[in-house]
Symmetry: C2
Subunit: 199 residues, 2 copies
Amino acid sequence: MGELRESKKRETRQRISDVATALFFERGFDAVTIDDVAAAAKVSKPTVFNYFARKEDLFLDRQDDVRVLLREALGGKAKGEAPVDALRRLVDRLHHEKHPFARIDGETVGWWRVVAASPSLQARLREIGDEAVEALAGELAGPKVDGAARLAAGMFVLTWRTAYGEAIRVFERTASAKKASTAFLALIDRGFAAARALD
Amino acid sequence: MGELRESKKRETRQRISDVATALFFERGFDAVTIDDVAAAAKVSKPTVFNYFARKEDLFLDRQDDVRVLLREALGGKAKGEAPVDALRRLVDRLHHEKHPFARIDGETVGWWRVVAASPSLQARLREIGDEAVEALAGELAGPKVDGAARLAAGMFVLTWRTAYGEAIRVFERTASAKKASTAFLALIDRGFAAARALD
DNA sequence: CTTGAAACTTATACTAGGTCAAAAATTGTC
DNA sequence: GACAATTTTTGACCTAGTATAAGTTTCAAG
């Protein structure tokens, strides 16, 4: 059944990803070329693109997680529970689990510095955000997604993005993960309160 | 003092823009190369980039308008008037003036179709949106922009974008500019109501 | 009207992301 | 071990965007 084949592919993919990430942290995203990555991972350029559709995906390969988390948060919510409450619980859960999406510390900030220095990574992040909005709108409204659902979904994603960005800023200013967390959750609450006012 | 020079530049810039827009409508954004544009406008490729920093700017050259409109709406607001009210008045004004930012008709939809078919135009549009958020946050909060201001600004931009997108969808479905307008204003009101709940 | 400086445009060449087709190597199955 | 399927590679190609240096046009001053 192609076990060896599968594991080799996983290995190759992983090697490319690891090598690329290391290079990006070292030199910055834009200063590293695909040829650099390919050479360091000992594969050819087309092979890199065989595993990662865009250069940005070498650094941002958590997009699928977003969809999964949203779905399981909304799918697993108690009957009658408002979506906004289920999402609020998701934030708390991820925050307690120190999930990188909901927690700022030295590591996340290192990651963010790479992003902040690269316009194309930021562009890709915006794109992922919009995809998340569409996915979330689908979860919220079922098959018939309308403007109201998109607006609600947009508010969650916007709130998350804004809270995350603010937390980074606070961390960089104060070097305190605690203060960053507080700022993060405060903005989350603010945004979610506004989202509640939508209906 | 260089009158002829100035007018020639204006002319060249305009010619490039017109020629490019026509080509984009004709063949789609991605199917037209900068070389095509340069040849059709009878200039060289570097000259095109001399006037437009990116290819996308050949089609989206209203970014400055956004900043100007926001500034004059918030600058000219009556003392004591809430920013949200001033922005709401801006929407109404643009809508009545049939400004493309706030009105959907056959022409806007033609423009939108070009955008919808091009990932890079959509990416640039997202970027412009984020720039608008930063600018608006600055207008709202003065020199010290904080997370709350960014969240508020983000909500306005999100609401506008979402309302605009929904209006396009309605127009394409019903072919009625009136229904599109109604959908647009309904979502604007919805989003602005939520934004009011922020404080 | 000439001349020299400044601004604009050009040709040319280059970098880098990304794609494509076909050859070559590797693995799975008979 | 031979044949089929899949992966990888090679190498060529396209396009956006940039740098450089040379050519052209406009301007202002003599």
